[in-house]
Symmetry: C2
Subunit: 297 residues, 2 copies
DNA sequence: TTCCTGTTCTTTTTGGATAAAAGACATCTT
DNA sequence: AAGATGTCTTTTATCCAAAAAGAACAGGAA
């Protein structure tokens, strides 16, 4: 049956909210809480019932009153607060880049289901998803074959990334001066400088910044198909580098400087300059990823 | 439970094979038949058992002998010989471009399941697939929203197609003269000429030829992500024009001539010329599709 | 009126059951 | 030895049921 992650998250989030309220205060209405927590009223009602049972809150006619501040014991187990598909994606990706999966091998869905402790339906859905990422392939007999994070894969992925990024650069430099993207670009430049200023302590935050930067650039040339590619890339990067922390600091430092040059290129409105800076950055990223894969092989 | 489409197809295919054999002849071995039909030996054995029960064939020690030629009644019902996912894809796409689905509306999976006479799991899989085509979107609350074959969609799709095709053209003109692609190109040119020669009767075959032509061109710059786009496009074209046969002949005639010019461009090895011909063809296709959508709206 | 609550009905998610198909292995024939 | 067959095991496709979450509606309070 369905997991109740949504309920459990709503429960804990509610406690967080209540912790900031004075005891005796009247609580917001059900619809208000639903909007606040981003869930349906049905879920809110379930949470409220539980809170009442815990003695945190009492229904007084049509009003709810806070009886006491929530304590640590009121919280529901924080483990498994991740939606099943996400959890599975994580586990699967870890398996995929791990030593148990070699490119070209047939994937045994049933076995994976047992290994990950989920049903085979869930595995099936997951495999379907990843096949769109190009990491898997369906054979004629209904089986799945792992393609894996191979050199070829990375080459093709980065070819696409270049197409996507150059297309965006072309459009970016041609934007009118009052376009909001310029402001966003200035903002992200400031964030880069701030990060570099305190690099020793904050270099791990770069991956998040990287994501935002490329989203700003590519946001000016939206295309749902390329958008998918960006998603694939995020997933690949995320999982691959999670297992490959080597040189992370150095890698991020180089990339941050390249981003600044890239931003300069865009702000110069000179297409040639912008393209050159973009190309340089992508080339570095490509060879870095390739090197780290070859290392792993 | 699993459908037995595979079994039923194997059964009918076997009858086709046997119809071409003289009575009394010894039949191929189980593994040989399995390879011939492209199924497992398990399925072959099931078919053979059925054939024996029908009196078409008799097991004589280790050999099987054909007793009589198969007749029409021996064949299994030809209806429903399509794998479920394909059947569903067809129905769904027809629904999607039909009047019951308006862009932006929420899709009711359960209702679709009832309408199409399949389980909601099957619908789920189908929706998942089409969401990767960009025709659907998943909302935060787990529902599906139809995006539909809108102007935006077509624009973005063709933008991608241009990227893909230009990239291929660039590589194509740079191929060495002894590359097999040149021969394939000459072959497809001949097929175009043959089709035009007998256009009145054969113009419906163009769509197949079109597919092959673009596959040859794009085959020189393989990329699994772009390959996906090509797949999307095939599906869109296939279904859209299936419902929109208007001007088909004229449309195909223009496209065939443009293909010839495109082939000339490639064979001239002149990048500028090739690109121009390619661009012209893609522009025509784009505006034709857009016009036919606007007509439908 | 406008918004809240109680109630009921739908829809989605997920695991499990079961038939179909594939694959593995030992044995047997030629 | 090579290949075919009989038997058994594993894996996949598909539907179904039950829990969870969402949505709709009516009646009532502010």
């Amino acid at each position: 049956m369905k997991t109740n992650v949504i309920y459990r998250r709503a429960h804990n989030q509610s406690l967080d909210l209540l912790a900031r309220q004075p005891v005796g205060e009247a609580l917001p209405s059900e619809p208000a809480l639903a909007a606040l927590l981003g869930v349906s009223r049905t879920t809110v009602r379930a949470v409220l019932t539980a809170l009442e049972a815990l003695g945190i809150m009492a229904t007084d006619g049509r009003q709810r009153r806070l009886l006491r501040l929530p304590c640590r014991d009121d919280y529901l187990d924080a483990a498994g607060l991740e939606p099943l598909p996400e959890m599975l994606e994580r586990k699967f990706m870890a398996w995929m880049v791990g030593p148990d999966c070699r490119p070209g091998a047939v994937i045994n869905g049933l076995d994976l289901a047992r290994q990950f402790g989920v049903s085979s339906s869930a595995i099936r859905e997951c495999l379907n998803k990843f096949s769109h990422f190009g990491l898997l392939e369906r054979q004629s007999n209904g089986r799945w074959r792992a393609l894996g994070l191979t050199i070829d894969f990375v080459e093709e992925l980065f070819d696409m990334r270049e197409v996507m990024e150059f297309r965006a650069v072309d459009r970016f430099v041609a934007l009118p001066s009052d376009h909001p993207a310029w402001e966003a670009l200035a903002g992200i430049r400031a964030q880069h400088l701030a990060l570099l200023d305190n690099f020793e302590r904050r270099y791990r935050d770069f991956s998040e910044l990287d994501h935002r930067f490329h989203r700003i650039v590519n946001g000016v040339a939206p295309n749902r198909f390329l958008g998918n590619i960006h998603g694939v890339m995020s997933v690949i990067f995320h999982y691959h580098y999670q297992w490959n922390k080597k040189d992370e600091k150095e890698r991020n430092h180089v990339a941050a400087l390249e981003h600044l040059a890239y931003i300069d290129g865009l702000e110069s409105r000179d297409l040639g300059k912008a393209r050159a800076a973009s190309r340089l950055h992508l080339e570095t990223a490509r060879s870095t990823l390739l090197a780290s894969i070859e290392l792993a092989v």
